[in-house]
Symmetry: C2
Subunit: 217 residues, 2 copies
DNA sequence: TAGATTGTTAATCGATTAACAATC
DNA sequence: TAGATTGTTAATCGATTAACAATC
């Protein structure tokens, strides 16, 4: 029950946390209030041993002989992920992908609030998505000087991604969620999480061909 | 130069391949025709040792005392990734995200050809994206019986993702590129590559808070 | 209490890094 | 040839799995 220090957790563990969170939410929706690492293992596909190891990085949330209280564990992991807080987002590059992210309101429910959209396209100026106005990219510098932004979403073409990032006032930015297929160079005070769709697609392409080779053996 | 067997390559290595491919392309565009593992290491951020290990999973593409020929290595990795072939894609769920993927024509250049879009929304029927018509989801079953599809893109709400996948004729499907925030249950003949944006966002959220804790120490 | 299941230590496995002989 | 850099083996590091005492 006592929380341990959050530091020095490996990325392998961290990247599994949202998946625990998702499965626990589903269990709650199914009105399952208690689960053992063994049962969770069957659902989620990690070994029971790994589940217990992962959870014990953050504290002893279980009870011997009983297992885990689903609701408590769900809430605890939510807190560990920082989902009890709210985050202000801006989207830079409001093309198809940027607009898709802007329209995806599920994040809003988890505390991720979109406060501005920036784009270079003059046709977008004056328009809004969910009451959030499009702003010209020229206003970006002033905006980041005047507002703290937890998460900057980059969904521009890769050619301009770095130049846009360089305009940000890094003192007023927490992290970057980067959808541009390039690696951004930023001060190491800023966290960057990449979503490289091309890498994902090319990995799939590799696996399709590997499977073919396998079946020909 | 001689290619080794492609099997038994670890996922860690496979997921680095698209990044090599991307950096080599950029080098070619900058008219750099030769590179050592040490120089590449500085650019890409992997150790020189790891780069040589990774590449030697597939064959000896380098030359002692010289390094690697950028164009040759780029082409070889392209072939390993299967980018010398073409792939037929369909998108199921043509909301904001599905349409964004449909409009992203860069994949087309790498041989990923979109051949159909399916959605349940009757308002979309009769409309097209890039000459590709929207079809009703009811046509899906017949379509997958009659056409081989290399990659099925799932961009439906999570509630219907599994039911849509269950309609596919798996004999006519290579793999699934899944954007729905759920884990699909499919025959293990089919490759599934997940893009779980919620997990990516929650990981970023974790890292933002971890950084805060670090700086308070 | 007896049974179940955690929390945690130890063992194993796999991935990364270091080192260096081979060779261009 | 001398210098550079690969390909590959060995060493290290880290992550996963197994085992079991603690305990509810």
């Amino acid at each position: 029950m006592n929380n341990k220090s959050i530091a020095n957790i490996s990325m392998a563990v961290i990247r599994r946390l949202p998946k625990y969170h998702r499965y626990l939410k589903e269990l709650l929706e199914k009105e399952v209030y208690r689960i053992s690492s063994k049962e969770l293992s069957k659902l989620i596909g990690f070994t029971a041993s790994q589940i217990r190891q992962d959870l014990n990085c953050f504290g002893g949330f279980g009870q011997q002989g009983y297992g885990y209280n689903v609701e408590e564990l769900y809430n605890e992991i939510g807190k560990i992920l920082g989902l009890d807080k709210t985050y202000k987002l801006i989207i830079i590059g409001a093309g198809n992908l940027g607009q898709a992210i802007a329209n995806y309101t599920n994040y809003e429910r988890s505390g991720f609030e979109l406060i501005a959209l920036f784009d270079i396209n003059p046709k977008l100026q004056g328009l809004k998505i969910r009451d959030i106005p499009f702003r010209d990219i020229d206003e970006l510098e002033q905006f980041t000087n005047e507002n703290y932004i937890d998460i900057v979403v980059i969904s521009t073409p890769k050619e301009v991604a770095q130049s846009v990032v360089d305009k940000l006032n890094i003192k007023n930015v927490g992290g970057i969620w980067n959808f541009a297929p390039t690696d951004l160079k930023v001060s190491d005070e800023i966290v960057v999480e990449n979503v490289h769709l091309n890498e994902s697609l090319f990995t799939l392409s590799y696996l399709l061909n590997e499977r073919e080779l396998e079946s020909k053996k």
